[in-house]
Symmetry: C2
Subunit: 200 residues, 2 copies
């Protein structure tokens, strides 16, 4: 099996949502696995001296329109959330917990979270909303409670984010294949070229 | 004739260079005119409260590699300039002077400037280099001297930049078609979709 596509995203990223709807088909077309990683691009992360997109840019009229048009371009449903900057840590912890056990459940959960936020304008920082989505993905109430209360899931997510930083991830969506970094859903064509023909 | 594609660029922009090599073929495929506009995205421009890309981002390892890979993706020659942040005002003034008289000469000059900077690492802030490129595009020595010394060409460029700002241009390359704004060479597929099928 050739090297997988590492797919990093933050649940608050609209371009991350678009990528989440596209990446598995791309991986499949090229006989690769996509490995999904939920991270949190919060202030702590951004205090690193890395590339970062200023928050006001994501709220600009241009980007709001660009996301909407990009969704139309990919043929994906999209509804702008009323509150675009939600805390995504609990969602990422649930994703990580599932991912360490049942990657397919984690992926189902991730789709649920992204679609809840970007097609139904639901508050994915709300634990009740997350629990509903986790249940749909097959997680038990007891396990959800564990993630909420057990500090080890926080530590586990932190370690995952540290790995992302160490690999040079600085945005969402972000892809790494064979060490090559691709930032943004608009780099998927370049990623596909890489998968087809190798380095260029 | 349907509405033209307005194409804005700064000569120091590597993604602007890539776009300059692609835009005319796109316009032709869709029976449109491309109207080229050289602008200067300097500190004055950026003091406006608009979206802006931090300078250090353009110099990051990621963006350096992204430009190189993007050039490979489009099949265009590229050589990273030793000094990526050059003053582009004189080049833009020469472009504007030609554009107000002979748009095709202006375009030839723009190609010359972009290729000199991004394939030969020449200093396009140097008046002697610019004069050589202007001569190749068919500009007389006397006219080049006029642009260098006559304040009206500065005023003319300033007015062009004011128009760009008023239209909501904030980066390079930047495209406007029928009021819709597209930022970045990576938005050309979305621009083409617009040209093919109209608004979405």
């Amino acid at each position: 099996m050739p090297a997988p596509i590492e797919f990093y995203f933050d649940f608050s990223s609209p371009y991350g949502y678009l990528a989440s709807e596209l990446i598995d088909a791309i991986a499949e077309r090229h006989g690769r696995n996509a490995i999904w990683h939920a991270i949190v691009l919060d202030a702590t992360y951004q205090s690193q001296d890395r590339i970062r997109i200023p928050t006001h840019m994501m709220r600009s009229e241009y980007v709001m329109r660009d996301v909407e048009r990009s969704a139309g371009y990919y043929g994906l449903p999209y509804k702008a959330p009323a509150h675009p900057s939600l805390h995504t840590e609990l969602a990422a912890r649930v994703f990580q917990w599932l991912g360490d056990r049942q990657p397919q459940q984690a992926r189902d959960f991730a789709h649920g979270v992204f679609r809840a936020l970007f097609t139904e304008d639901r508050n994915i920082a709300d634990a009740a909303v997350l629990q509903e989505l986790a249940t749909k993905a097959g997680m038990s109430e007891a396990d959800f409670h564990t993630v909420q209360t057990d500090g080890t899931t926080k530590t586990r997510l932190k370690a995952e984010i540290d790995v992302a930083q160490a690999r040079g991830v600085f945005g969402s969506p972000f892809f790494i294949v064979e060490g090559e970094r691709f930032w943004g859903v608009d780099r998927l064509p370049q990623l596909e070229r890489w998968l087809e023909k190798g380095p260029y």
